[in-house]
Symmetry: C2
Subunit: 160 residues, 2 copies
DNA sequence: TATTGTTATACTCTATAACTATA
DNA sequence: TATAGTTATAGAGTATAACAATA
């Protein structure tokens, strides 16, 4: 269709596919960050779907693997998940035989989380799916750009 | 507390604040992208809160400003919002006198969207809040790194 | 008094199906 | 037949408050 040039600011954003455009939005980090994250995350959700696993549960498996015996609320705090919302996620993983919760003898209010053999297998399968996505990203950007992007995002995570 | 070194892969991720760590997760673009976007987005939501405006509504105002007379479903398609979910967002903006919907004479099924004077004022106030956030980001990263980040994210948006 | 895990609940965002009026 | 907008609804993800057991 028509190609229009945005008549604002310096940076010109053009739309070649339709008569409408997003205005100045694609020039802002916050907007582009949100859009690209939604894409990448939706793609990962769909990928994990074949394992009947949600991203939060995958992250919990990684956390428990890295910190055997860690507490449920430690995992939640680390991943930014409310303790109330951890209950269901953990319960489902335990029901499927992926992890165990053992009452800690030192503090009997809390559970110590441990990965079971079946959970280890699930974790390895999930890692392969993640690795495939990461490989697509690295392939698309090139390894150097991919590394720069990760470094920049990590720095941005320390904003404020 | 203690400082532990992850004993996996090459890249070492260390936690200096607690005895637990996220394992290999911070080495992956998908994971870091998600975390940093959540931060930045939550910050922006809180900022827009003083205008009683949600990010999606701000984006709609930008789109209508850039494309006067655009259709409701065009805006939705452009922003990745289902037409069913556009209804409430648009209705609220119209109720507050920010935009008008005029039956298009060419296709009387659709509405042509136009920004009203009050909507223009709201848009300018929202832009100032966005600009403040963008300035904090640019200040934190440095202008060059900020520009590189935007370029990399834009390229990543074209994945697949 | 404070904290871990739990339940109940509510709010937002997102997704789908069915309807109407137009095309 | 197909599309624009609407309605109703259901599913996630996320947030808070209150409680029992334990510290």
């Amino acid at each position: 269709m028509t190609t229009r040039r945005v008549r604002r600011s310096g940076a010109s954003f053009e739309s070649h596919t339709s008569g409408v455009d997003l205005g100045p939005l694609p020039e802002y980090v916050g907007f582009v960050l949100r859009r690209v994250q939604s894409q990448v995350f939706a793609d990962f959700i769909q990928s994990l779907n074949e394992l009947d696993l949600r991203p939060a549960q995958f992250a919990i498996l990684e956390a428990v693997d890295a910190n055997p015996g860690m507490t449920q609320s430690d995992a939640g705090a680390m991943l930014g998940i409310q303790k109330a919302n951890m209950v269901g996620l953990i319960a489902e993983l335990e029901r499927r035989g992926m992890i165990v919760r053992r009452r800690s003898p030192r503090d009997r209010r809390s559970y110590a989380l441990h990965l079971l053999a079946e959970g280890g297998r699930l974790l390895r399968r999930a890692r392969r799916l993640r690795d495939a996505q990461e490989a697509r990203i690295a392939n698309h950007l090139g390894q150097e750009s991919r590394d720069r992007l990760l470094a920049l995002l990590t720095r941005l995570a320390h904003l404020d």
